[in-house]
């Protein structure tokens, strides 16, 4: 039995279905990310787990116990809000202490745990500061400390890093991951930043329009996207239409002038999905012409016009000569680097 289970959860606002048939099993200590574009229902799902919204359908269970029957104040979950929602009239220490006060923790014990929590997020010496007098990153840490100090069974994070600048965000990502590893709290992170989801999570739940598109490890979702949506959402991707030539022996998978032995089970027209960095220039393969060549420091970016439509190719800058703009090239790739989908939809 999984630690936290969402079973066919759905949410409707009036006639609008915002979350539909959401099923997920989270193991104890796991770090899960909900990833998807704005408005796809990530926050709504999180708020249903937190108890601020009631699911229209389905069940949410924590250690086998029905969570939807428990009042939000009694769920014992730690939540970090997108806006942090710190109490502006309380100091950092008072903010962190609030949850312990509600649990009637004794004053001495409380002070000790508040001090430890603030130290853990690197805010020693900021105890008496008011939130308005702190930077975004510091406020974010207070919010994290406030959620963690009550030793929550699950930590819910709603885009906690979205208000920070790129550098600070990266630092906080590393810190967040370290803290989570150290104390082992089961964590669900909501984000629309694919890099954040990839670098932090054990598993990613990719969502679109209230539905789960794919659940998998970062590698799985990146290398084996289950749908066109997933492959496009997780970084750049090339799609080529291909079909199977059964007249050849053995049957071939053909895309323009590129061909390879057809994988078993593939019989019809399919879409080949390929990451740009997995394509190489070769003597034979898909015929293409380089439209633009962009130097990006550690790699080159080529925009090509191929027999099967436009494509992007990324090559490491390893010092070897690269083809120039306007040059005719052949594109090749290894069979195991591509993923196949039935044309138009999910695999």
């Amino acid at each position: 039995m999984a630690f936290l289970e969402l079973d066919g959860v759905g949410k409707q606002f009036g006639s609008q279905t915002v979350v539909d048939d959401f099923s997920l099993a989270v193991e104890r200590g796991e770090f899960i990310s909900f990833l998807g574009p704005s408005g796809c229902g990530k926050t709504t799902t999180l708020q249903m787990i937190a108890g601020f919204l009631e699911p229209s359908r389905g069940a949410i269970r924590l250690e086998g116990r029905d969570l939807t029957k428990v009042h939000p104040a009694k769920r014992g979950l730690g939540i970090v809000f997108q806006s942090y929602a710190l109490f502006p009239h309380m100091t950092a220490a008072e903010n962190v202490a609030f949850g312990l006060e509600m649990r009637n923790v004794k004053r001495n014990e409380r002070a000790k745990r508040v001090g430890a929590a603030l130290a853990m997020v690197g805010l020693k010496g900021f105890e008496e500061r008011y939130p308005r007098r702190m930077s975004g990153g510091q406020q974010q840490r207070v919010a994290l400390a406030r959620a963690l100090v009550i030793q929550p069974s699950v930590l819910l994070l709603d885009e906690p890093l979205s208000n920070l600048d790129a550098k600070l965000r990266e630092e906080m990502q590393i810190e967040l991951r370290q803290i989570q590893r150290t104390i082992g709290t089961t964590t669900i992170l909501v984000t629309h930043d694919q890099n954040e989801a990839m670098s932090l999570s054990d598993r990613i739940v990719v969502m679109s329009q209230g539905r789960i598109e794919q659940i998998g490890t970062p590698q799985q979702t990146y290398e084996r996207p289950a749908s066109a949506f997933v492959s496009q959402f997780l970084g750049k991707t090339n799609d080529f239409a291909a079909n199977v030539d059964r007249t050849a022996q053995p049957a071939r998978l053909v895309a323009g002038s590129w061909h390879a032995p057809a994988p078993v089970g593939v019989t019809d027209t399919v879409t080949i999905s390929l990451r740009p960095e997995r394509i190489s220039f070769a003597d034979s393969g898909l015929a293409a012409k380089i439209v633009t060549r962009i130097f990006q420091g550690n790699h080159w970016l080529f925009q090509c016009e191929t027999e099967c439509g436009p494509a992007i190719v990324i090559r490491q800058n390893d010092g070897s000569p690269q083809p120039g703009e306007g040059e005719a090239v052949r594109l090749d790739w290894r069979v195991e680097d591509m993923s196949l989908r039935a044309s138009g939809g999910a695999a």
């Binding site: 708020q47 937190a50 601020f52 939000p72 104040a73 009694k74 769920r75 014992g76 979950l77 730690g78 939540i79 809000f81 997108q82 806006s83 929602a85 710190l86 109490f87 502006p88 009239h89 609030f98 949850g99 509600m102 649990r103 008011y130 308005r132 007098r133 406030r146 959620a147 009550i150």
Partner: protein
């Protein structure tokens, strides 16, 4: 040389800004400062039943106010009434604003209109409403209660302090609701959820999280209501009439009935001074108390 050029452009800019503010400044001086100064001067003039106003400089009016306990009692009544009305608007208005803020879209609009609508109606009309309901034997509510046998004599409302406090609180309520409402708009909408997730119950959330955050709004609303109530004229004039006077109605009577303008001016100036002191003082206190948190 550049420095000289800088200063000359600076003076030109300063001159331009002065020139631009001049019309407003003249209006301000013309309709506010000059009459005010004249009122202050008037309060030092002499007055007699037959000789009228004499433009001399004496302290007679101020001495009269200071020595006659009638004035002390009247000022004390004025501020007591204003304070009670302020308390009532705070106690009723703050929850009202909070509930209003939690309503969903359409209802919020309707009720906001209901609360602010009275501002469009004259204070006189609103106060007369109270007089119609409670005015002596003919007041509607009094009649109803008496015919039901719940009371023997009409409820004392007209010419009482209670009546004045109730009517003032009613008239001033929109200012308090608006002020608290503005403070509520600055509260993070997720903050109650945050407190709830940490284990706080509904009552604790209001007492520990919401109230401290809207307190500046309640206090600034209180300052507005207090100063407006203490200097209110129409409501005390209708409810209190000539029998129960407050500072504003007394000054009015001195001006228009007794024709003792200097004494009326002294009362008005004293009311103004007291209010300015109270408002500036409490504002400074509030600013200091909340500077740390809300800046």
């Amino acid at each position: 040389m550049t420095a000289a050029a800088d200063t000359s452009t600076q003076t030109a800019e300063t001159r331009a800004s002065w020139a631009l503010t001049l019309p407003a400044l003249m209006l301000f001086v013309g309709v506010l400062v000059i009459p005010l100064l004249m009122t202050v001067m008037l309060s030092f003039h002499d007055w007699g039943q037959y000789k009228g106003i004499e433009p001399v400089f004496i302290l007679k009016n101020w001495q009269e106010i200071a020595s006659d306990p009638y004035y002390a009692e009247m000022f004390w009544r004025t501020f007591r009434i204003a304070l009670l009305a302020t308390l009532i608007t705070a106690v009723l208005g703050a929850p009202e604003a909070y509930i209003l803020n939690r309503m969903s879209g359409r209802w919020k609009g309707i009720f906001l209109l209901l609360i602010l609508g009275p501002l469009l109606i004259s204070v006189v009309a609103r106060t007369l409403g109270w007089a119609l309901l409670f005015g002596g034997n003919n007041g509607l509510v009094n009649k109803l209660l008496m015919s039901l046998g719940l009371i023997r004599a009409p409820l004392p409302f007209m010419f009482t302090e209670t009546g004045m406090v109730v009517a003032l609180a009613h008239v001033m309520m929109p200012f308090m609701v608006l002020s608290v409402w503005a403070a509520l708009q600055r509260v993070d909408p997720q903050i109650e959820n945050a407190a709830m997730s940490l284990g706080a119950g509904a009552f604790t959330i209001i007492r520990r999280i919401i109230l401290p955050q809207i307190m500046p709004g309640v206090l600034s609303g209180a300052i507005i209501v207090f100063s407006l109530s203490a200097s209110a004229f129409a409501t005390p004039a209708i409810i209190g009439g000539r029998r129960l006077k407050v500072a504003a109605t007394l000054a009015y009577d001195e001006f228009l009935n007794t024709l003792n303008w200097p004494l009326g001016a002294a009362v008005a100036v004293l009311l103004l001074l007291a209010l300015v002191l109270i408002v500036v003082g409490s504002n400074a206190l509030i600013e200091r108390r909340y500077a740390e948190v809300f800046r």
